[in-house]
Symmetry: C2
Subunit: 317 residues, 2 copies
């Protein structure tokens, strides 16, 4: 399990290397929602997403032997960059298994941080490929979300948000594999015990919402959604029970709603947020729940988006 103390310890480890990202507010958003909304801008985190928190927390706790041999991660994008950057800072060599169709900006950035990128094609089993590479080269696998050190690292985002924003009544968090929301929910339970933590998923990938409502782990096919960071097929062995215990509700938003919210954040708040990063904000902006007069935390989880891809989306509408 993951406790608040694990998150506090992760926070100490992260202090010298992670960015304490700003918490921004917007008079326009407050007027639209009737709430007081605090945006935790993890799009400004190092490598552009919260994922750095978990990856660094995990890599820094490896044994000296494991550090010497190196690590491997498979990821649709941000976890890849996070592990590559954490490896660079800690002088640990990193192998990153990425889909061949990952956004170019993410492939470039991963290589830029010194990660050795191994691409897999659609249909290939990335888990098998990763296991084979780990065995051949004695690498330690760094999973993207289902690991206590990853979860504790991600929880530091909510710790900072609540410390900076003050008391909040609700906390909305994007949900893919559940690492971010699990950690954030554990942090919120201690720092804002009455706060309702709400996860937001793409409608096309509603496995966590269904798992939450049915109280059993639902697995789906790889979801077809623009929220590439939430193209997970299920919660994990650790994150599912944490979500059941600590999360108050789960919601979904459509890709169309998500794009609208993403561009709203760009145009009105002047911040570049990627589709997955805008999930929680979308639930607020599209009024998926009544937040009137509440103090609301929203995690903007990342900002790694290919501008040409975004421009094409804009032209479609």
């Amino acid at each position: 399990m993951v406790t608040y103390d694990d998150i506090a310890a992760a926070h100490e480890r992260l202090k010298p290397v992670a960015r304490r990202t700003p918490v921004l507010t917007s008079a326009t958003v407050d007027a639209i929602t009737g709430a007081r909304v605090f945006f935790k801008c993890e799009n400004f985190q190092r490598m552009g997403a919260f994922k750095f928190r978990g990856a660094y927390n995990a890599l820094s706790q490896l044994t000296d032997e494991e550090k010497k041999l190196g690590v491997l991660a498979f990821s649709s994008g941000n976890h890849a960059q996070a592990v590559a950057l954490a490896g660079k800072i800690l002088n640990i060599s990193t192998v990153i298994v990425m889909p061949a169709d990952a956004p170019k900006v993410k492939l470039d950035a991963t290589r830029g941080y010194g990660g050795e990128v191994v691409l897999y094609q659609k249909g290939e089993n990335r888990e098998e490929l990763a296991a084979r590479l780990c065995a051949q080269r004695n690498l330690t696998l760094i999973p993207p979300f289902d690991h206590p050190h990853i979860i504790a690292g991600q929880g530091t985002a909510a710790k900072e948000l609540i410390e900076d924003a003050g008391p909040i009544d609700a906390l909305l968090v994007p949900c893919g594999g559940g690492g971010l929301i699990s950690g954030c929910a554990v942090a919120a339970r201690r720092l804002a015990p009455d706060c309702r933590v709400i996860g937001v998923e793409p409608a096309a990938g509603d496995d966590a919402t269904r798992s939450f409502k049915e109280k059993k782990l639902v697995k789906i096919e790889t979801p077809d959604t623009i929220a590439d960071g939430a193209r997970t097929t299920s919660l994990g062995k650790l994150t599912f029970p944490l979500v059941l215990s600590y999360v108050a509700d789960m919601l979904t938003v459509t890709d169309e709603e998500l794009l609208r919210s993403m561009f709203f954040l760009w145009e009105r708040m002047k911040i570049v947020v990627e589709p997955t990063g805008a999930l929680a904000a979308c639930a607020v902006l599209e009024k998926k729940l009544n937040l009137e007069k509440l103090r609301v935390g929203v995690v903007l989880s990342g900002g790694n988006v290919d501008l040409r891809w975004a421009a094409a989306q804009l032209n479609k509408n």
Copy 2:
């Protein structure tokens, strides 16, 4: 003239209403430039640009009679929104004379803040139109840059930047009519006396650079540049002598360089900056001057850009 005390007084007036915008840094930018760069994010200012500072400072110092009768401004964009928003906060009615081809996002926002928008066509003399409206309706004209209260208000951006970043060796500021750079240079002279203040203009609108080098006021035709906030034809009666006294150098960047820097800020720093807002950053990113090992302040002056326009620029390249 404008003194540091005027800027300090403006800062007190602005504290309850303006945003103290964050100062962001970027490991990537520091690696590219060899400098330590501090970005003052006025794209996060209310209405999306530094212009709110000057407009509010000017409107709040009107007499009760002037406030009752209302004000008029003519502007290619951000000054319009700034005056409209300041008027809304101070309960002063505002008439805004804007070019009919101003970006839609700026027209919408100005009306959204309650400004009465009067459009003029290309070729029409906006000064005459403004003078006629002022006379007919007893309105006070709020000029976009050449007014001591405007200049003092804009200088508060540099005051905050230096307070938050600590000592700086150079300060780069976008230059249109010179209100921002004049105010910033006066503030810097007091708070960082050894700091070199450098103005950055679009190459197609290099009137201030030429005026600075030739030490006489150069007037040009309305410049053809994507930096719509710097489509001014000359510095003003107040800003020209201030630039001569306080500014160390002036530089220009091409529109092509400017676009590249603008999209770099979007993609790597995750912040939406408009072309004019990226002028000073462009001089740094395109290495127009040697900043190695220096602590450098850069004012990102605004973020009001039409996303569809930006997408079209991206597709052109």
